[in-house]
């Protein structure tokens, strides 16, 4: 695959010495030698976009935070709530010094007083390694008086949402808050707060050390750089891989994932963890924010679950909709009702109960119930339902009539 910098030769834990030997902390040294504004400009011209799900331009987000007067706060979002996603934890466990350097660059650029590493309590390996990395930095020449803290919360899906992260850092339950205000306006203790995904931050050292042009040489014009992909499902080699943005889906499945198991047929992909919906088996879909969206899915966190002819789409859609019903944090009535209803309807359809009306209701929710919650969680369930009907009409028709499909029979 194309040139890589997040994973490179690193296969296991990289200590500080090894990281420095690879040029680690040069980017931070450079950042500290120039003004925060200069750092913001460089990140802006790199075209870096957030890897936490929405692909928001990082430079623009930074400007938004800086437009509000300090003191400011930075939260490193390592909660990684998508089921099965492993990319952020891979970075925190194996390259804690890279993640730390990226986080420090962001804190410098925001002129922040506080930096929080935010992750799930279950990920104690990442936690210990980050804590150790912070301690080495505190004794290094790159230290400056910045308060750094680790905040760990019980793992839930919504805990990774930006306002839930703010609430958790404030000592409250990690549940989303109504917007406005958004964290960049008023986050932790009312301060302008940058909430940034671990992988997004891990791109910063390369951008500052090699320059925005070098970063832009990989990837596409609107989605530059590489991304970490978590490949799951019906591939021979599931795992975390670094690929150039814009790489065709078929190439990622073949070259990184080792292809499907012998004799199996590819029938689609669930995109963006559980959040992005299904796309069909088109090998030419470009793995970047635009390409995925054009295909009807969403790049999201870069997680791809591959379906083959023994994977029943109804079964997977059932798991996804049940997951969202369970993970709905219950603050919004409409989210509770909607996610529960979708899970029940998909379960009915799967066993062929309720007839054509079930499909019609699913279609109606799939098209009409967007952006109704205080956070986007219900939209994930809606996307799964909408794309299930569109990408797998045969399986839907078969379940409607017989309560099963060919994949159910064969596996």
């Amino acid at each position: 695959m194309a040139s890589v910098w997040l994973m490179g030769q690193v296969r296991a834990f990289e200590d500080q010495e090894a990281y420095r030997a690879r040029g680690g902390f040069q980017a931070l040294q450079y950042a500290l030698s120039v003004s925060p504004e200069t750092v913001v400009k460089l990140v802006q011209s790199s075209g870096l976009r957030g890897r936490g799900g929405a692909g928001f331009p990082t430079g623009r987000k930074w400007q938004g935070v800086r437009a509000n007067p300090g003191p400011r706060t930075v939260i490193v979002n390592g909660e990684e709530g998508e089921p099965g996603s492993q990319k952020d934890t891979w970075l925190m466990r194996n390259r804690p010094h890279l993640v730390l350097e990226g986080a420090l660059i962001a804190a410098w650029a925001m002129e922040a007083d506080n930096l929080y590493f935010y992750l799930s309590v279950e990920d104690w390996v990442a936690r210990q390694r980050l804590e150790a990395a912070v301690r080495t930095w505190q004794g290094s020449p790159e230290f400056w008086p910045l308060a750094v803290e680790l905040v760990a919360v019980p793992h839930t899906y919504v805990a990774g949402e930006e306002t839930a992260a703010v609430a958790a850092v404030e000592g409250e339950l990690a549940r989303p808050r109504f917007k406005p205000p958004r964290p960049f306006e008023a986050g932790v203790r009312g301060q302008p707060t940058l909430v940034q995904n671990v992988e997004t931050l891990a791109h910063l050292p390369y951008i500052l050390r090699e320059g925005p042009e070098a970063f832009r040489q990989v990837g596409t014009a609107s989605s530059p750089g590489t991304l970490l992909v978590t490949l799951r499902g019906a591939v021979q080699r599931p795992g975390v891989y670094e690929v150039a943005m814009g790489t065709p889906l078929g190439v990622v499945i073949e070259k990184a994932g080792g292809g499907l198991h012998p004799g199996r047929q590819w029938r689609g992909v669930l995109t963006g963890g559980y959040f992005g919906g299904f796309v069909g088996p088109d090998p030419d879909i470009r793995l970047d924010f635009e390409g995925m969206q054009a295909a009807g899915g969403s790049l999201g966190n870069g997680e791809l679950t591959v379906l083959d002819d023994r994977t029943c789409p109804l079964e997977l859609a059932g798991a996804v909709t049940r997951f969202f019903a369970v993970e709905s944090c219950g603050q919004c009535g409409v989210c509770q009702r909607l996610t529960k209803t979708l899970a029940e309807l998909v379960a009915d359809l799967a066993v062929g109960r309720g007839g054509e009306e079930v499909v019609q209701r699913l279609a109606r929710y799939g098209e009409g119930m967007r952006l109704r919650g205080a956070c986007a969680l219900p939209d994930g369930a809606v996307a799964a339902v909408r794309t299930l009907l569109k990408v797998f009409p045969d399986a839907v028709a078969s379940h409607l009539v017989q309560g099963r499909c060919e994949a159910c029979v064969e596996s």
Partner: protein, 65 residues
């Protein structure tokens, strides 16, 4: 002026819809929503939308001036 419904507060009383149905719609469970939160409220409806916000028992309606 823009307006939106805070879904964490809405308890489906429906008073907003009774007062200003042009802006506040109800879904099948009775929860209120604004069709396009990014759209400006037409000037002739602003007063009714404010009245709906005042009437909401759970103070779920947000007016963004």
């Amino acid at each position: 002026m823009k307006t939106k419904v805070n879904p964490q507060k809405c308890e489906a009383y429906g008073d907003c819809h009774a007062i200003c149905p042009e802006v506040y719609q109800l879904d099948e469970w009775g929860y209120a929503f604004v069709a396009d939160e990014n759209a400006e409220v037409p000037p002739e409806l602003e007063a009714k939308a404010r009245e709906a916000a005042r009437a909401c028992p759970t103070e779920a309606i947000v007016i963004l001036d």
